[in-house]
Symmetry: C2
Subunit: 443 residues, 2 copies
Amino acid sequence: MSDNNIIDILICNGILVAMEETIPPFKDGVVAVKEDKIIFAGSKKDMPAYKPIRIIDAKRGIIMPGLINTHTHAPMTCFRGLADDLPLMTWLNDYIFPAEANLNPDMVYKGSLLACAEMIMSGTTCFCDMYIFEDFVAKAAKQAGIRSLVGEGLFDFDSPNYGPLEKGYDYTKMLAEKWKDDDLINIAVMPHSPYLCAPDLLKTALLISEKYQLPLVIHLSETKNEVSMIKKKYGATPVKHLENIGALSSSLVACHAVVLTQDDIPLLQKYNVKVSHNPQSNMKLASGIAPVPKLINSGIHVGLGTDGCASNNDLDMFSEMDSAAKLHKVKELDPTVLDALTVLKMATINGAFVLGMEEKTGSIKPGKKADIIIVDINKPHLTPMYNPYSHLVYSVKGSDVTTSIINGKIVMENRKLLTLDIAKIMADVNDIAKKIKSKHDKI
Amino acid sequence: MSDNNIIDILICNGILVAMEETIPPFKDGVVAVKEDKIIFAGSKKDMPAYKPIRIIDAKRGIIMPGLINTHTHAPMTCFRGLADDLPLMTWLNDYIFPAEANLNPDMVYKGSLLACAEMIMSGTTCFCDMYIFEDFVAKAAKQAGIRSLVGEGLFDFDSPNYGPLEKGYDYTKMLAEKWKDDDLINIAVMPHSPYLCAPDLLKTALLISEKYQLPLVIHLSETKNEVSMIKKKYGATPVKHLENIGALSSSLVACHAVVLTQDDIPLLQKYNVKVSHNPQSNMKLASGIAPVPKLINSGIHVGLGTDGCASNNDLDMFSEMDSAAKLHKVKELDPTVLDALTVLKMATINGAFVLGMEEKTGSIKPGKKADIIIVDINKPHLTPMYNPYSHLVYSVKGSDVTTSIINGKIVMENRKLLTLDIAKIMADVNDIAKKIKSKHDKI
């Protein structure tokens, strides 16, 4: 046996759900990992004779690609459940904005560590994040060993991080330079939204994204109010307004996309814009229901996202899948809408397309980075199993994920997080929450 | 210290969420249990000096009443994920009905054991069940040590259990006699629905329920099709049709109640009819969205239910609460609708009202039966905690329940089920599923 047969990890004895059309589900599935990459995925009987340094027994569970959370605000774990069931403006003005006014790098870093712990422990291996002090989100994600696309939120008013906007551009460029060769951290330009970003800001953001070849991520058409406001101000829907500015492109990730006119969808399609769908946040904040079946039928790539913890209130992509599949059925009064496989694609391979990472992650395929999770199905609520796709969307919970490998590195094994000290992270965020409570008499 | 101070269980060191207006949440909560009853619930500093035989340390978790699942079909765990994302009639005629044609007591018993395991492990301590061979559901529930209200499904056509309808009445009477003195099992009369039960059946069911003083449980106004069919056949909505028959009363539990006219709600209110709301099933089968805020505002008791595993696909009441809270917000486009406390009441004390068990269970109150769960909140996805109600509805998962006490007996401790052999139960249901697969070529 030559040295070429030495591999780092062999995952065996599982049901392989690769999310690749050329690799159907296998009952005797195996995946071989060498360094950071997948080198084989398929049936055990077709596997070359490897010499694995490490064997992971999936114990008849499901071996699948890690989930991709296409939209969140990781540090907002600090505000989980701080205020719920309130009118949007009360929620923002009386709770979220005052709490965020005291933001600092320490809070962002610790809140992000907690978010990374929660995400890995519920099966997410890649996330897209917009917030402030985003270099500290990147630092936390790097430490956790989770893949990410991060970007500093840009808006017209001063930021607790960079002060006036000009420095925000510099901060984004700094992020792009600092992390450009990193194997886990990717940078995007992130103007907050058409209602918090004047056209000049959007144009500058676009120039930076083009110069550095970075994705552009924005909140778009999230609420009726936003659409009215933009129409009044610019005489166009938010989508059309972005076209006028020249910002619609295949590098644009539109988060939410709830309130769309019938002219907006062909525009998104024409420019191959990507969409992040956040059903639980849209439900909880009563924003509305995005026309996801129409977007998908138009050929638009739609991923799933949890949004931040203040409007969900967790980062669990399994529960997000369940909500997505059920919400659109009842909206359309059609039980065939958004079937389990479609929703699972949104949370994996199509999430990768949304973030421009489809060559790297989102499915189990030789040549891709090894971003893999194992789901234990030997549990009462997962017995029996007729169909793995149905199980993953309608029955599996985040806590059923036992093992997570990201970029070829085992970051969780048998539910033990190997990269972070969870007890310390929870204690740190509990301290932050105590300070938030003491400062805000409404809480 | 007198013998009167000897108690069986003292639960201490937890955050008490009693779901009783006279008992606010306590940070230093304790609950004392003697035999099958709660004898004290409140702050540790107000607690009499007890001599507990057994002390359970809640480890700063939440001590709360067990959840009440007001509508399910326990044996349908055997069909979990057997068929999804299909038109209703394809789902029923090509999958569910053929699978159910082979029903037998063994399947019902084993499927129910699995359901009980899943329910206890996700925080449910009481459930209401309609199916066939229901004596075997009762047997399984008794063995699991879970409280229940069970009843044999009655319909116009022959049943695999009792054959012609006349014997179905006898079977129901047999159940009532057999279980009348049981401390856990309660019996109801359960005509399936106005569309599967002719008026004579409904009238006979009503007589039996009056004679034996049993609740009457029925599927009511679940879909548009049902309402059209009943209107065509009887010239009235299903609710009005039941009034005409004389079946509307405070003993009636109407399951689903999705498609209601504006005249139906005052009728339900007038007769103090109880409603079981099943949001996830109604979403997945695309039945519609029940007008729950209106029902609650009319003073109608509304509980929550998961429905069976073939249309959900689990029995997790925590996830059901999350869906209920979010679904009605987005339907009404109002984030204040169905706040966390309201939803938590639906899953506890109001569920008890729905099943006519409000004197017995649904809250932690001296004199009530000890149906108590402990939730571990020392986890990343439950950090930090600002508000326990919000946490329980929006963040806690069924798998966070560590300990369950039903009728004063510890049935689960540190996530170990003490009453059932889970491995055997799962193996049994996997065998059943294999037979179902081999008989149905569509699966």
